[in-house]
């Protein structure tokens, strides 16, 4: 299905400075999200998944330098002032943070936190705001929603707090949801409930979603497209079925093989040799080359660009797996 992208990110670079040293957390990240589309961002910790979300929303620029272009329905967000961003944050683009334990204000009731969002972003009356707050809590599956408005975050369990976070994020009916590991801290049973909820809302409200996760199972079950990140760059991008069925980049292959699924029990698991590079000492060529079985001299010397390999797949690799079968990974 052909969609017009609501978010277009092009050449996004985020650099953090520390004592004269520069740490390039994001290097030339480009992707788009369409209406009602779910894009997955996967990678190991430190690969830049969360920084991508924060850079899109203008939260990273307080700590580092953000360049490139983030176009939201045609408007450039990178150059906007904090004041001009305010009506977009929360109303058009909402974010769910990773830790439900620390991202709610412990001193305000859940109701106050929900109503606060509605007050900032909608013209609803006091009564209507309260009704909407109850409706939202109900929608995310919190039992006895009306009576729980006056409860404080500590009176909720982890799964319930994450639902409250989602309710707050969705209160103003955003068109794009940035979900930063929304289920990592939760049990699989609760994870299934939360993912169902996000997917249902995405299709009902035509809401685009960027889902950051390190669980490939979550990606397989929820996303339409997936982008694999390594050391601050997207190394492979495409429709989720194609990427997971036939991964081209050696890193994607390695990630998928490390998951113990379809492996004989109690046998050695595959693990990618080596460790991710430090951002302060990135190799000049492909950042993955030192860990890659198929790397050549070209990989060590020059960085492969993210190129279109088929109609809707992109890849940054000189020796894609389908050409080096048997020796790569």
């Amino acid at each position: 299905m052909e969609q017009t992208p609501i978010l277009e990110v092009e050449g996004l670079c985020t650099t953090f400075g520390r004592g004269g040293q520069t740490l390039p957390a994001l290097r030339d990240v480009s992707f788009t999200v369409g209406e009602g589309e779910v894009l997955g961002l996967v990678g190991e910790s430190g690969s830049g998944k969360s920084v991508t979300l924060r850079s899109v929303l203008g939260l990273a620029r307080r700590y580092g330098e953000v360049t490139g272009s983030v176009r939201w329905q045609g408007q450039e967000l990178i150059t906007k002032s904090e004041r001009d961003l305010r009506p977009i944050r929360g109303r058009d683009i909402a974010m769910i943070f990773q830790e439900p334990m620390t991202s709610l204000n412990p001193l305000l009731t859940v109701g106050q936190q929900l109503v606060e969002t509605l007050q900032a972003h909608t013209d609803l009356s006091r009564k209507a705001r309260r009704d909407r707050a109850i409706e939202m809590l109900d929608l995310v599956g919190i039992p006895a929603a009306a009576s729980r408005l006056t409860d404080y975050p500590h009176q909720f369990s982890g799964g319930m707090r994450q639902r409250v976070m989602i309710a707050i994020a969705l209160a103003a009916s955003p068109k794009l949801l940035l979900a930063d590991e929304p289920t990592t801290a939760l049990d699989v049973t609760i994870q299934a409930q939360i993912l169902d909820l996000i997917l249902r809302l995405s299709s009902d409200m035509k809401m685009g979603v960027i889902m950051v996760t390190h669980d490939l199972g979550v990606v397989a079950q929820t996303c339409d497209r997936v982008a694999v990140m390594y050391a601050g760059r997207i190394v492979e991008q495409g429709p989720v079925r194609q990427v997971l069925r036939d991964p081209h980049h050696a890193y994607t292959v390695g990630l998928m093989q490390s998951v113990p699924e379809g492996v004989a029990p109690r046998t050695q698991l595959y693990s990618i040799p080596g460790t991710p590079p430090s951002l302060a000492h990135l190799p000049p060529g492909c950042a993955f080359a030192p860990r890659c079985a198929a790397s050549t001299e070209a990989c060590l010397a020059t960085r492969p660009a993210l190129l279109r390999v088929s109609e809707d797949r992109q890849l940054a690799c000189f020796n894609p797996k389908n050409q080096t079968k048997g020796c790569a990974a």
Partner: protein
């Protein structure tokens, strides 16, 4: 049947929480968190027993009881027939040496002010495993065993990555030549590719040293991979226990069915016939009567409300605690 190295019998543990003023005025008794409600299992020599369940179900409490960090309210843990909570054994460190625990968070389980060498030699010294002059040699041997470079002995924990820290934790546990390892979410804090390395190391060492492992984790794929047998815990009770492959490929208890089907498959087209679980784990402050699972169970009837099912063996499967398991399996 091989010999049982550890026998846990009807283990229960309730944590009292302080009585509130309102309770005191009303003359109500204080509340208790019933973390374990009669857990019985045997750990066979050389096996890996996986323990799975939602958070708050008592997995970690069970692990901590086994290493005597908590004292149970009732029930017993027998190690080669000897009750480990017996007053005469209580002060004995020999048991501590033979059963070692490895913790979840590699950032808080190592003393930040001690070098790896000091961490490892402390364990050796406390249990008098080696004479003073043999200690450096043994430390080098241990580092080798968990594949850390030799210069690691001089380094402090903050100089290591998460995966390397878990290796140090494994080395520390192995320093005293234990018989049983308790791994409480050993790799949960690590990335998948690092997870694979640590799990590989654990499997290899287990093989080589003939260790018995209790593997507590919430990652079901991982538990399936490393375990010989698996126990599914719900609200401090074992609801199903049995051979890992049998249990994962065809779970019998309705809770195991729901828990296992909730794990997202790696295949985008395998949306599965999900058995969806509604609601959350009830609070252990207020454990439901009868079968603890009846509020969330599709098959529950009046009997489940009043009568608590006990574990019983099923033909060709493990042991299951459910009144209606035959009917459920028959209709499936």
């Amino acid at each position: 049947m091989s010999e049982a190295v550890l026998e846990i019998n009807d283990l229960s543990l309730a944590f009292p929480i302080s009585r509130s003023l309102a309770d005191w005025v009303a003359g109500r008794p204080g509340k208790v968190v019933r973390a374990l409600n009669g857990v019985s299992l045997q750990l066979q020599k050389g096996e890996t027993l996986g323990v799975v369940g939602e958070s708050g179900c008592g997995k970690s409490t069970l692990a901590r009881c086994i290493v005597r960090l908590y004292e149970p309210t009732s029930g017993s843990v027998r190690h080669h027939g000897q009750d480990i909570f017996d007053a005469s054994v209580r002060g004995d460190r020999a048991y501590n040496r033979r059963v070692q625990m490895m913790f979840q968070d590699p950032f808080s389980s190592l003393n930040p002010r001690m070098t790896t060498g000091q961490i490892l030699s402390e364990a050796l010294r406390v249990h008098e495993m080696r004479s003073e002059d043999q200690i450096p040699e043994r430390v080098a041997e241990l580092l080798d065993l968990v594949r850390l470079p030799q210069d690691a002995a001089e380094k402090l924990p903050h100089e290591f990555s998460g995966g390397q820290r878990q290796r140090i934790a494994i080395a520390r546990a192995l320093a005293v030549e234990p018989e049983i390892l308790i791994a409480d979410e050993l790799v949960s804090a690590l990335d998948v590719s690092v997870q694979a390395q640590v799990v590989n190391l654990l499997l290899e060492l287990q093989e080589r040293l003939g260790l018995t492992v209790l593997f507590v984790a919430h990652d079901l794929r991982l538990v399936r991979h490393v375990s010989n047998r698996v126990a599914v815990i719900y609200l401090g009770r074992i609801v199903e226990i049995g051979d890992s492959e049998t249990l994962f490929s065809s779970p019998s208890h309705p809770y195991s069915q729901a828990l296992l089907s909730a794990a997202p498959s790696m295949d985008p087209d395998d949306k599965g016939q999900k058995v969806k679980l509604e609601g959350e784990l009830p609070s252990p402050l207020n454990v439901p009567t009868g079968c603890a699972f009846h509020q969330r169970c599709r098959f529950a009837d009046t009997r489940c409300h009043s009568e608590s099912p006990s574990l019983r063996p099923l033909e060709g499967r493990g042991e299951v605690a459910c009144h209606h398991v035959e009917k459920i399996l028959h209709n499936a």
